[in-house]
């Protein structure tokens, strides 16, 4: 384990060597946005991206995936164990992936998700350009301390590569023309972290995230839920673009023999009208306002009470994705605080 310093040119040469021997998913340009996609050349990698349009959860919990293949009552689980390198994950997304690993492994251990998580080598990357709605600085996620195999930080014209795990070391072994980081380099890296903590605040949450459960405890009947939900399309965009929304629906895709097929799960979201629909046609969150409120409670209360961390990591994707402009958690939580 260690921290190496390498020039941008050396970094590119290193990434090309990684690509030569591994399946690499890297952050790249997509129109005027950025997206994770199979990486074929280091030159396509955009470590200067502001935010990945779709969060990296998509490579661990694909939008649609096959869980089981069946024929009559015979069946086999489908588990993806193909190793891959995920390159260019921002700290707030890394925090989200750490939370997801915690959630998918507790209670009913999910072999589908966890196999991909175990097979992945995650190269995180400190933020170089702030997206329009990021507020990670308020959520304590502008910087990440664990979960990654390598953390890259741009310091001046060079990169520091902090490798912590065996998988990280295996990739770091492919570096040529790098040297150990000096105390000065590490000081410079700390300055980047401090700066990012200030800069990743496009919206300013007026409280510490760990005060949210208590605030929400008192806010169940607040008028904000009805007010905001009036404009809600129930389109689920805020759920599906969220790096910590992991709910899913399961359906069978049957073959023409009507005997065999695949059982698939797909992203679902609590803002969708029938999400809480159950047998008999009942829906225990049939009103938009109930659904709208639920998302804020999931992020700020229910999941924190389960795993001890705020489930909003401040990526700001929901704010950008909401056509009706009602999905900003900072606006809602600040409003609850003001009216307390």
């Amino acid at each position: 384990m260690g921290i190496r310093k390498l020039s941008t040119a050396s970094l590119h040469a290193w990434v090309d060597r990684i690509i030569a021997g591994n399946r690499v998913i890297g952050i790249q340009a997509k129109d005027d946005k950025f997206a994770f996609a199979p990486l074929s050349a280091a030159g396509d990698l955009r470590l200067d991206h502001d935010v990945a349009y779709t969060p990296p959860k998509a490579f661990f919990q694909p939008a649609i995936e096959t869980l089981v293949r069946y024929r009559g009552i015979e069946h086999e689980s489908v588990v993806d164990d193909d190793p891959f390198v995920l390159f260019g994950v921002h700290p707030y997304d890394m925090v989200a992936l750490n939370q997801m690993a915690e959630i998918w492994s507790r209670d009913n251990y999910d072999p589908h998700y966890m196999s991909r998580w175990e097979q992945a080598t995650v190269v995180a990357c400190d933020v170089q350009n702030v997206s329009e709605n990021c507020f990670a600085g308020c959520m304590g996620t502008a910087h990440v301390k664990e979960g990654f195999d390598i953390l890259l930080t741009k310091v001046g014209d060079s990169y520091l590569a902090d490798y912590r795990t065996e998988k990280g070391e295996k990739l770091a072994d492919l570096m040529e023309q790098s040297r150990d980081a000096t105390d000065g380099d590490l000081r410079a890296r700390r300055e980047v972290w401090h700066a990012n903590n200030r800069l990743l605040r496009r919206h300013e949450l007026q409280m510490f995230p760990n005060n949210l459960p208590e605030l929400l405890e008192k806010s169940y009947d607040h008028p904000v839920w009805e007010e905001m939900a009036e404009r809600c399309f129930s389109c689920g965009s805020c759920n599906l673009c969220c790096p910590t929304c992991y709910c899913f629906d399961v359906q069978d895709d049957v073959e023409w023999d009507l005997q065999s097929g695949e059982r698939k799960r797909a992203w679902d979201g609590c803002m969708l009208a029938s999400f809480a629909g159950v047998a008999g046609g009942h829906n225990f969150r049939g009103d938009r306002a109930d659904r709208y409120r639920h998302r804020y409670y999931r992020k700020g209360k229910y999941v924190p009470e389960m795993i001890g961390e705020c489930a909003c990591v401040g990526c700001g994707r929901c704010i950008s994705a909401c056509v009706a402009n009602i999905a900003n958690p900072v606006t809602v939580y600040n409003r609850l605080l003001e009216d307390e």
């Binding site: 939008a63 359906q251 029938s274």
Partner: protein, 249 residues
């Protein structure tokens, strides 16, 4: 178990949805292993009025169409509306925004008064008879059609998405048209098509009809924030989602 007998009928439409069934090509043999087509103008010469399932394609635009549809409904155990013209009236409902006489003269000129060109306000199938199952879209999606056929054959209710198209754009990682200040009807339109239009750089045209409980008022309200007008929204909605009266979004 004997295979259910299926008859396919066309009303006012381009017959493109029937063509989608023909386009199943090698899967057609699978299809007829599950159901027995007895009437299907585009694919067979035989005709039979003894059927269990009727697939209705096209919209209802004349009084005599209503009579014909009612007769089909009486014979069928299950009536399926196939494609946008049948499910919601589709593009044929555009004419409901105008005076019928004006529409006829625009299309047929001097011949407009000939009796076989008589026309009425366009209706979807369920504005005339009870519909048991909907295959949405223009044209209908082959994969969804086969899902529905298999479900019916299994005696299961088919799973038809009841959420907006936005879900499928997010699943595909398609960049939202509103990011570019363009109207997209995906926010109020039923998903299930896998959002091919936005992924191809276009807006959602709304061909699958409104999602249940569409928040059209919210769509009106947000237009201004994107430097668009309610009239812009209406002009898009008219194409597939016109009503029995002029469209006011």
């Amino acid at each position: 178990m004997s295979k259910p007998k299926v008859a396919i009928f066309d009303f006012a439409c381009c017959e493109g949805c029937q063509l989608q069934i023909v386009n199943l090509e090698e899967e057609l043999l699978d299809l007829i292993s599950v159901v027995q087509p007895v009437t299907w103008r585009e694919a067979m010469s035989e005709k039979d009025d003894d059927y269990d399932i009727a697939l209705i394609e096209g919209s209802i635009t004349r009084p005599e169409d209503e009579e014909r549809l009612r007769a089909i409904r009486d014979r069928a155990d299950i009536l399926v509306a196939l494609g946008a013209c049948a499910t919601i009236g589709g593009v044929n409902k555009l004419k409901n925004n105008f005076e019928l006489d004006e529409v006829k003269r625009c299309v047929y000129g001097d011949a407009a008064d000939m009796p076989h060109l008589d026309t009425a306000m366009t209706k979807g199938a369920d504005e005339v008879v009870e519909v048991d199952c909907y295959v949405h879209g223009c044209p209908m999606d082959k994969k969804e059609f086969t899902h529905i056929v298999k479900s019916l054959a299994l005696g299961k209710e088919p799973v038809i998405p009841d959420y907006p198209v936005c879900v499928e754009c997010k699943q595909r990682g398609t960049i939202c048209r509103y990011e570019y200040g363009e109207i997209c009807l995906g926010v109020v339109t039923r998903a299930g098509c896998n959002a091919p239009c936005p992924s191809g750089g276009l807006w959602c045209f709304g061909c699958r009809g409104y999602a249940p409980e569409p928040n059209v008022q919210a769509a009106r309200d947000v237009m201004e924030e994107y430097d668009l007008t309610v009239e812009d929204l209406q002009s898009k909605l008219k194409l597939f989602n016109s009503k029995q009266e002029p469209t006011n979004a």
